[in-house]
Symmetry: C2
């Protein structure tokens, strides 16, 4: 069978490799044309696979001695040549896998994508792009960049918009994605010189359905399909929203379990709370793609559990299936 | 009696002047040494005061014809010389009031503070500073700047830290306020050149109890008393957190009222939800001070209701009572 192959770096995430392996088994059961190459300490992986039910044809291994740790920096991607992250990236570079998924450290991973997979032609700065849940049912918003770069110039931001546009169309099947520029206010005159120039570029780009500026308070409101920003601002905005969601949910949990009376009432709302959590919990949106490199590269949250890894692997699989790289190249006019 | 006097610009906020007047009446009843000078359309204000119980000694009026509208810009503070905002600022400048409170447009107000009240010696860029609720009971965090400036250099940021330090000590009675620098990661090496230089300045400033870098996800966690950042990043972070809180609370409300069964259970948790809302609703934290000008100047959220205006007026009153300007001057070494 002509398998779609994911090189899955199962080392280096906070919760060890068991949730990673479990998530892989789940997706393999669902997608019969998927092959997962487990990259990492083979004995540990095989141990985690013991007694699990799966089709052995769909599984492969690449044994590695080293691990890129959470505390490792960009430089370690050059130093740890036998690490699972480097080896998995090389599998993709060499065409032995169609995509990589990892739960490892972000900075070395992005650096590895750039050094090993290489950038797409005309892309100076690749972007790191998560999928954000919104108030609107089944609608997500793509936010980029959230931290692959600290700074971006208007031309970078225009390319982010073009890449996210192609992703939204090809993967999320949005017909004419609405694309907004993150800014401190809605008027075209708001923000820095970079904002003003980017506003003009996006407004005048006929490939893009430009919405205008959007404030960070509306990133989760579902008004648009794509929000473009520099990596520094995107990182701050994403973490501020995530942190508030986490703290608020914690606070609510404290309040509704304070007395026995409240606990009993809360039990009856368990399903309701689970619905909200399923939507706004980052576990279901733990995957982010490195956009602008020549292959499909997904990162799952460092503290991923089975749900998170499963969600990210599924996004990776969908990206292969919908040939996202060809779509990106077309939108960027790369032959 | 030697009254503490607030010039209260009651025009130009989204909900009209009635909530502003009602909030003032409430605080006047509680604080017998407070006088409020209502600045705005006198006939409308007097109409709103009709049938209200208050001590007429504690109330004064300044009639103005013009209003700074929400859509007005910085330039309008120069143009609308008979506006309530300008007139109220002039009362403070001329020593006829100890402080100003407004619910009007932010940008003209900050500009007005700088043009009319004037900056403190040595302060190039005043900051706009709200009070952020946190997970920890009765603990708030001061965040500055949230948008008075788009850019700040390390020296500005150090002054923000010194001013917030003095505010935290004198108004919030925190003994040794922990001060953090907002950044994309915790390590000293993180962020831009401005971050790295600011990190050094704060670390080496003996007046400051420096915590180190903090990520935006922890701004509402209550780890520190003050978070220092440039106005652009502060604005993005604050709005992202506010937006997420609002959207999440909305989503929960939808989920717990979807069926009759859920509605009934939710009724029993009304008090619990109100506790959470009271804490994280910006209404109770609607006030922000313009820090770095020579008088006390507070802005309440544009869409303030009675609760918001009351909270902001009370902050203003406390700032007068605790002589915040003298404390700021001392901490900045201004005689």
């Amino acid at each position: 069978m002509n398998y779609k192959k994911i090189a899955f770096d199962v080392m280096g995430s906070d919760n060890g490799l068991i949730p990673a392996v479990d998530a892989a088994i789940k997706l393999l059961g669902e997608q019969k044309d998927l092959k997962i190459i487990f990259v990492g300490k083979e004995d540990l992986i095989k141990n985690a696979l013991k007694n699990k039910k799966y089709n052995i044809e769909q599984v492969d291994f690449l044994d590695c001695k080293e691990i890129i740790e959470m505390t490792d920096g960009i430089i370690d991607i050059r130093r740890k040549k036998d690490s699972s992250m480097v080896k998995a990236l090389e599998l993709v570079r060499d065409g032995k896998a169609d995509a990589i998924t990892t739960g490892g450290a972000t900075a070395p991973f992005i650096a590895g994508c750039i050094f090993i997979i290489k950038r797409l032609e005309s892309i100076e700065r690749p972007a790191f792009m998560p999928v954000i849940p919104t108030l609107i049912k089944d609608k997500v918003t793509l936010l980029l960049d959230v931290g692959a770069n600290l700074e971006s110039d208007p031309e970078d931001l225009e390319k982010f918009a073009l890449m996210a546009n192609a992703y939204s169309k090809s993967i999320l099947k949005v017909k004419e994605p609405k694309i907004a520029l993150l800014n401190i206010g809605e008027e075209p005159s708001k923000g820095t010189e970079v904002h003003k120039k980017t506003y003009e570029l996006l407004k005048n780009n006929s490939q893009i359905n430009f919405y205008g500026n959007i404030e960070s308070r509306y990133v989760t409101s579902g008004f648009v399909d794509v929000v473009v920003t520099d990596g520094y601002t995107g990182n701050m905005t994403l973490k501020a929203a995530e942190g508030m969601a986490k703290n608020l949910l914690f606070e609510i949990k404290q309040a509704i379990t304070k007395t026995l009376f409240r606990k009993l009432a809360a039990l009856r709302l368990k399903k309701a709370f689970n619905e909200v959590k399923a939507k706004f919990d980052y576990k279901n949106h733990a995957g982010a793609i490195v956009l602008g490199v020549d292959k499909i590269a997904f990162k799952s949250h460092g503290s991923s559990d089975v749900i998170s890894f499963y969600a990210t692997l599924k996004m990776t699989y969908n990206a292969i299936k919908n040939d996202v790289i060809s779509n990106l190249k077309t939108s960027l006019n790369i032959k």
